[in-house]
Amino acid sequence: MRLSQAIHKLRYLASLSRIAQSLLAIVMGFLAGGIMLWASGYNPLKSYEIMFIGDPESGVQGAFGGYLALSNTLREAAFLTLTGLAVAVSFLAGMFNIGVEGAMYIGAFAAFLVGYFISLPLNPFTNLFHVCLALLGSIVAGAFWSYIPAVMKVKRGAHEVVTTIMLNYVAILTTKMIVLRAFLPKTGIVPGGILTPPISLSARVAPIPLPSRAELTLGFPLAIVVTLITYFLLKATTLGYEIRAVGLNPRAAEYGGVNVGKALIYSMVLSGAISGIAGACDVLFVEYRFNSLFSPGYGFDGIAVALIGRLDPIGTALAALFIAAIHMGARSLQPALGMPKELAMAIEGLIIIFTALPEALNMLISKFKGVKVRK
């Protein structure tokens, strides 16, 4: 009884230090970001205040500074939760999958095709059916796209970092090419990308209105559902167990009877399916069309999100909310101070670097603890 209690306590402490590691990585990222801001001539504290709360002088809302800003943060968080989960599922198996961005484009394009070429009479039932069909299309397309580098890795040993990056370029260029070829007279070319014509009314889901012009897109509840499903898949199924076992130690897993290649492929297929849903969210819930440059790099943000969340589905969802706040905050810095929004990406990169250093962070944590004990 006492032994099991001790083990329980140890586990609790270990998980606590993992959370502490993530928090410390975030703090270090912000410190380094603050130095960057300071070096570029901005007041770091003031900048961070504008990012998260807002600037009363210019009337800019920070990420949590009002209903409208909050709803934007939640919309962003939905994308980041999904791409974060997609990254986490593959990283857990030990696949360094950088291809979420590409799979997301393929998924979005599939959702657009289903939404555009099928047109159903408008009633709630057909609406639900059509949206589910489009989501299914995006899941299948995304899963297929991520299946390619997985098979290349398992059958030919092709380095997944290289193949997934290359396939990102192929995905983005291919969808752009098809949009330009097939929809040319009807495309809208804007600085943000090339737009297809809109999808059928029956494939759209309007956002839920909230006070003061804010609205909640369906992406956020959907992301929560996907988080819970992923959590269940990873923690309560044999497949999830095998994926985690392969990631921890492929040789031991193989010795224990796990088919390593199969686990790798399933983890990538799962990752691609979730990436596909992320892409569909933009087409079905936000833009109602395919935009050849719709993603500002959600697939790459997903890496930071998953790592801050320590590859845990719930942790990933929380990290997504946080990174979304940085994104929306950085977007309010641009009008308020003239600081480009790419600051968010730079801070994210720093946070990723710091999460790569658990031992160094542990040393820091134990130093802090040591100081307290001496006092």
């Binding site: 960057m36 570029s40 360094f96 950088i98 290349m152 030919r156 040993g157 092709a158 380095h159 970092v161 290289v162 193949t163 990056i165 290359m166 396939l167 370029y169 192929v170 260029l173 291919t174 752009k176 090419m177 330009l180 070829r181 790099g297 790459f300 890496i303 930071a304 790592l307 600081m339 480009p340 790419e342 600051l343 968010a344 990406m345 730079a346 801070i347 994210e348 990169g349 720093l350 946070i351 990723i352 670097i353 710091f354 999460t355 790569a356 250093l357 658990p358 031992e359 160094a360």
Partner: protein, 297 residues
Amino acid sequence: MNYLILASLLIGTLRTSIPLIIGAIGEIFNERAGITNIGIEGVMLFGAFIAVYGTWLAQNPFIGLLWALLSGIAWGLIFGAISTHLRGDQIVAGIGINVFAMGFTEMMIPLIWGTYGYSESVNRLPPLFQLYGERISYFLPLTVLLAVLSSIVLYRTKWGLRLRSCGENPLAADAAGISVYKVRYLTSVFSSILFSLAGAYMGIDWNDSFVKEMTGGRGFIALALVIFANWKPLLALAGGLLFGFFDALQFRIGAALGVGVPPQVPQMIPYIATILFLLAIGRVRGPSAAGKPFVKE
């Protein structure tokens, strides 16, 4: 006329292969010493940016080159620390460097030049000579020299032997009295200098300005080239020309194919070619200790 297209394709191949070869040779040194740095793309992008910025400030491309050199040293020390004393996860850290460089350089463009996505034009490095109106860069003979010297240093000198022993069996190297950490720090600095200079070449020699994400995945193509070259510098030189050919093809083939072909098709060529090369090579074994932290007992 056809000869001219061929000549321009060949010169284009030489031009595009330079950053790939330099990047790959840097990474060969890294992995041979037991470091896996997939942040090549990021350090390259940073080098291109800092070289253009330095050139713009001083109105002198050689100052820009010097800045890129210093930036390479800094990144090399950082990654050296990550892969030794800090015992970090090198793949994750490399991804972080790429994300940081992408965000940071794009953020700095408007702060410095007031424009979005591209910088002002700056003075280029002087060319070695002109051929058919095309610039031939000093980097070309230097790259060949680098490949030859690297091969000699790695396989014909005691330093090369020590370096390789740190990548194959650091415990044995340590027992033989080699300071694994010192070797890895020095290697990391040297290779990051190479990545950074490859970026500087793209910023102030091949082009005359900084454009966001201008490295366009070439750092990752260099990573593929390392595997293709089986971790050998001379094979990286040969393979780099092959990879560079497909990279150059995207700029030239559009004109040859005519207006009927969408421009995205040639743009995809280098990426698809890289994947096909990796598939053709199949499963290979690199230095055993590459990417693994070394903990002295």
